[in-house]
């Protein structure tokens, strides 16, 4: 359920970013406000979802240390959230 909510928020934020990029005027302003709020929610929910996943499926992270592609993907995700 938590992952579903996180996915919904992340994809809605993605849509808001697209609308902010492709529109102007009132729609642009509303999308920018919504996007800012949603991205803050994404940043807040991400560690919560990660910790919850770790507690439910600890084996999910067991292979991470030996998988460079997993680290690369995680760095890409953090980099995308950052700028």
């Amino acid at each position: 359920m938590l992952v579903a909510v996180f996915s919904l928020v992340a994809l809605t934020a993605h849509g808001a970013a697209f609308l902010t990029w492709k529109t102007d005027g009132v729609v642009h302003a509303r999308a920018q406000r919504a996007g800012t709020l949603l991205f803050v929610l994404v940043a807040a929910l991400w560690p919560v979802v990660t910790i919850a996943t770790r507690s439910v499926h600890p084996e999910f992270f067991s292979g991470f240390a030996s998988r460079p592609l997993a680290w690369l993907a995680a760095v890409v995700a953090v980099g995308g959230l950052g700028p």
Partner: protein, 97 residues
């Protein structure tokens, strides 16, 4: 994404969001591999990439179709994004389509 969207760097914000989603999906796939669908009752009965894959002939056929389909899909999206580049502009009469 947060800083970019607030500062009006709209394309950077969108690309950051793309990178975030791709990174999340990639990290999940790389972390779970080779498991595709985890069995909640018995982990040994999980569906893995090796168990779910086709035989060698099927995989070669899929690769051949990918070599044809991927350039078509990339070309399609290139044309669509070029046709709709810039800001979307509403029609003068208010009709959106």
């Amino acid at each position: 994404m947060i800083v970019a969207i607030r500062r009006g760097r709209e394309l950077a914000s969108f690309l950051g969001s793309c990178a975030f989603l791709a990174g999340m999906l990639g990290a999940t796939a790389a972390g779970l591999f080779p498991v595709l669908l985890r069995s909640a009752h018995d982990p040994s009965r999980s569906l893995t990439a090796f168990a779910a894959s086709n035989d060698a002939f099927g995989l070669r056929a899929a690769l051949a179709w990918l070599a044809i389909g991927l350039p078509l899909a990339l070309g399609y999206f290139t044309i669509v994004f070029r046709m709709h580049r810039g800001k979307a502009v509403a029609a003068a009469d208010g009709e959106g389509y």
